[in-house]
Amino acid sequence: MIEIRNLTKKFGDFTAVDGLDLTIGTGEFFGLLGPNGAGKTTTISMMSTVLLPTSGEILIDGNKLDRKATAAKRKLSVITQEYSMRQDMTMDEVMEYQGRLYYMPKKEIRRKSDELLEFAGLIDYRHRVVRHLSGGMKRKLMVCRALMTEPQILLLDEPTAGMDAISRRQMWNLLRQLHSRNITILLTTHYIDEAQSLCDRVALIDHGKLDIIDTPEALIEALGGFAVDETSEETLVCHYFKTREEAIEYLEKAGRDAVLRGTTLEDVFVERIGRRLSQK
């Protein structure tokens, strides 16, 4: 279980994360959503101990996570937004270095490395140097590296950023498989459809503060499960309704430039966060 208590991070006068409180259960797939600069990556960086909080704390199964907490860190693996690995290493070397940092026996490193690179379709490129890999291959390699140590908790910071649609779907399937193995996953993403498809619960954060936290279904239900998009020459206005009947009734009055559809988590995001941003 991950407990984040009153977590705050300041950079000078700027508060990137502001008193964040979250509890993520064991085996839960949890999404952290927010616009650019909301504090998602800062939160992940504090969880990987690269940044230290200004105040507050993070607990992993009841133990405080800090740079000395080797037992808590053993449970964690992180896939960062940037390709955070030695660019001059081959794929094999990246995997071996990870295994060595986690005190894995050499045979086990070899076995897991073969298994994961095969699984990710990278086995034929294992001797290729990281700097010569495509963006998608680097992402897959980062996933392989993170899974090398069989983590109990996986922190994913924009894991599908820059991936094409097919690779993204492959990654989703991989994450679902991991989730089915009872791994706790914390995902930050810009792709709201990704969070809706994968996450058990999501938290919306804005300016480092928690806005709302719930299941995607409950958040959609609260806004209204049916949406009517009404387009004019310049704008698109969405209207939300609790029942299909209400939505159809509105649609009939609205005329032909209106479309009925199911509400998505993106609508919730736009309504809660986007509206606030546009008001500013």
């Binding site: 990987s48 080797t70 986690y102």
Partner: protein, 243 residues
């Protein structure tokens, strides 16, 4: 042991860049030897100048080899590749990571120093290099590896590493008992320069090479630098808010 993981990483880097590392380690010191030692034929304290120069050049090579191995590697890992994140989140104790960097850096420095010894072997100077020489070289390497760690934690950009070399390492190369004795310096400056680690290393290397032995104070001073830089780098890696 996390130390071994880091040493493995350093060994891998050494094997891959063997020719580049070797060339970089020998070219500048070799130029110094040729120009100052063989080109400008002179004597110092009644002996060939080369006898004065070689221990100083070996010390200098140990310093630059160790410093550049750690400063460049750490700055790039921390600020450009962000590969340090992988270490930070791993269960490897961070002091072990630092220790691996220091030992690896020092061994690289010793390699550079040994290359100079090999290259000067045919000159037959009669200088003595023994176990003490290697101990001094190793200790000098650890001092400059830990200094490199401290500076790489202070760096704001990975391009700062070459700047630190220009500001700190290059002046030390020329002033610290390498090409001329610190005794020739004016009062005040002499004492400051003599207390710097490279001056101590060069002095001790020269003492061993001439068969006169060396003052244990030199060792004490180097160990004091090592302890101070180690404590600062350990404090940085455990306490620095934003790595």
């Amino acid at each position: 042991m996390g130390v071994l993981a880091v040493l493995w990483e350093k060994w891998r880097e050494f094997r891959r860049d063997f020719y580049k590392i070797t060339l970089a380690a020998v070219i500048t010191p070799l130029m110094y030897l040729i120009v100052f030692g063989l080109g400008i034929q002179t004597t110092s304290h009644g002996e060939p100048y080369l006898n004065f120069l070689i221990p100083g050049i070996v010390s200098l090579s140990t310093m630059t080899g160790s410093f550049s191995a750690v400063a460049q590697n750490m700055s790039v890992q921390r600020l450009y590749e962000k590969a340090l994140d992988q270490v930070m989140v791993s269960p490897t104790p961070l002091w072990q990571f630092l220790m691996g960097q220091v030992i690896g850096g020092s061994l690289r420095g010793m390699y550079a120093g040994c290359m100079i010894l090999v290259l000067t072997l045919p000159i037959r100077t009669g200088l003595i290099f023994n176990g003490y020489s290697f101990l001094i070289m190793f200790l000098n390497g650890t001092v400059f590896s830990t200094l490199a760690l401290v500076l790489s934690f202070l760096a704001k950009s990975y391009t700062d590493a070459p700047r630190y070399t220009a500001y700190i390492i290059t002046p030390m190369s020329f002033l610290c008992n390498t090409f001329f004795s610190t005794d020739a310096m004016p009062m005040g400056i002499r004492q400051v320069v003599a207390a710097l680690p490279l001056s101590q290393t060069s002095g001790m290397m020269r003492g061993v090479a001439s068969g006169l032995g060396f003052s244990p104070w030199g060792m004490v001073i180097l160990i004091a630098y090592l302890v101070a830089f180690s404590l600062i780098s350990v404090t940085f890696i455990y306490k620095k808010k934003n790595l």
